[in-house]
Symmetry: C2
């Protein structure tokens, strides 16, 4: 991956910009590889490409989907994605993979899990980045969204496994938070925390088919009551609880319509553009934090000083920090 | 306060260092005022004093006490503090006041709440800082601890109102986490979150006297069961549940002994010094973060660039951050 990125680095930004604007999938993929790189020169090229694309379209919709392993995320996305295409969109499916930080494998890595969807025209599926990307999981996924939008994909699905931090990252870069749940597994078992349920714009009980239908309906009622007691999203939207089956396709079109209803709702009340703006500022703040720390801790003099810190320096951490900072900023 | 600090600024560090080492309470108080200042020159003097004191004693014990308003923190500390003095210690009582960040009043501000304790020899009570201190609530309280220890106070009580963030700040600078609870008020009512209970080394039900005794004992049993199910502290210590009455003094000596048992336990298994070390490194990390951000956002060129940021710059937050950083570090 890294050698490939180095080779691509020889191209001018304009090569990528023109390719992406034409919707060239191969060039789009290579630009995403740059975005996922951890190498400074590759990232610089990536940002020159992003700048040249004059990104910032508000015409797209970004749907975040989460749920614990086994809830049926891939199967849901396969069914839901076909509906998205049927309604006339071009769809990109991306993933935030928390495990990638430890290089532990990858969700969405196995494209065959979405065999049918991946062969449809107008669908772009990108497996998770394989390594730890500079600036956290949110950065490379966010920039991948921007590249896909510039390439003409107007419906973006971002998938993540529900394990805590990654949902927060997901909510920072998507417009809608869809939480998939299983019937009868219990909140604790599913590892779903109250905070995550409060983030959800909709909760969907999967596998509502065959013998499981009644259990799913009961779970829906139960979760609807639980959601009712939780703090509602600040958009003014009332969060929904629904069931679906990726097997029979029951409920899939209804979920698509519900998401569209949300979209009209937040466009009408101004929340949609306001939130996009707020997300960008929040990402900027995160990015500044990350860059500041990266620059500081990679500074050789700082490293030297930290390595050889005397006990009495550590005993006064705030005083020591101020001295380190003064040194760091003096000669850069 | 600020004018007073400015005046004190005219003294050399050595004036404070000698005064504190002699246990001069007036000079100690003035040094704490420096630590609580938000003015750069005052803080510089404060850190010169701290450095000169060759701080870092591990002979002290730092007890953190929290609980919601009305649980009887002051009354408990009044009774418990007298026990601490009886056992031969010199005691300093400090406060982390989350409300002070909004300049909203102050816990411990009313010294008369600890009327008897405050008149005992060997007791130093310091009200909360009145304003927002640079570097968050933890910094000035931590440095106040260091000053008090240098002045010969070997038992430090840090009090805070239980509202979330302040407990986390408290746990970063104390050795023991004591959570005060009322009987019969219910977890939700008391605003006590599971996370806070998991941080507690001991939970004490207050006001176990008169008609309230049986209710307190029942609550103790109930909380003991709840605590049993929670994750235990990483020290290896089994968290305790006790009752006490500041009115009758029942349980106060037992709580003192229990804390001493903890102290022996964590000294024997090495957790005590290891945690102190880890706390310092964690404070250093926090301090670096805070200083970096403060330096960055107060830079005039950065402020100018952020104020006049174009939409296409904000649309690529990570690219924009990297440009801002490069500018910031170039001419510092």
């Amino acid at each position: 991956m890294s050698r490939l990125a180095d080779e691509m680095n020889k191209q001018e930004p304009d090569f990528y910009i023109q390719g992406i604007l034409k919707g060239d999938v191969a060039i789009l993929s290579r630009a995403i590889t740059l975005v996922e790189s951890t190498k400074e020169t590759n990232l610089e090229l990536a940002h020159n490409i992003l700048r040249g694309l004059r990104i910032g379209t508000e015409k797209s919709f970004r749907l975040g989907i989460t749920g614990v392993p086994g809830v049926g995320k891939s199967t849901f996305i396969e069914g839901f994605g076909k509906e998205v295409i049927k309604r006339g969109h071009r769809l990109a499916v991306l993933a935030i993979d928390p495990s990638s930080q430890k290089s532990k494998g990858s969700i969405l890595g196995d494209k065959t899990r979405m065999e049918e969807l991946s062969t449809l025209p107008g669908v772009f599926i990108r497996p998770s980045p394989s390594g730890n990307s500079l600036g956290g999981v949110a950065r490379s996924t966010y920039e991948t969204i921007l590249l896909c939008e510039a390439a003409g994909y107007d419906y973006i699905i971002v998938e993540t496994v529900g394990v805590g931090q990654s949902e927060i990252a997901m909510s920072k870069i998507t417009d809608f938070f869809l939480l998939l749940m299983l019937a009868g597994a219990g909140d604790e078992l599913q590892g779903i925390k109250r905070g995550i349920m409060e983030m959800a714009d909709a909760l969907v009980i999967t596998k509502a088919d065959g013998d499981n239908i009644n259990k799913a309906k009961a779970a829906r009622t139960e979760y609807a009551q639980a959601m009712h007691l939780l703090q509602q999203p600040e958009s003014g939207w009332t969060s929904r609880t629904m069931t679906c089956s990726a097997l029979t396709n029951d409920g899939i079109a209804e979920i698509y319509d519900m998401v569209e209803e949300y979209r009209r709702f937040v466009l009408a009340n101004g929340f949609f553009p306001a939130r996009r703006e707020q997300q960008k500022l929040s990402l900027l703040k995160d990015a500044i934090d990350q860059h500041l720390k990266a620059q500081f801790y990679s500074n050789p003099r700082v490293q030297e000083r930290l390595k050889n810190a005397r006990p009495e320096e550590i005993a006064d951490p705030f005083g020591f920090a101020r001295k380190l900072l003064t040194d760091f900023l003096k000669k850069g």
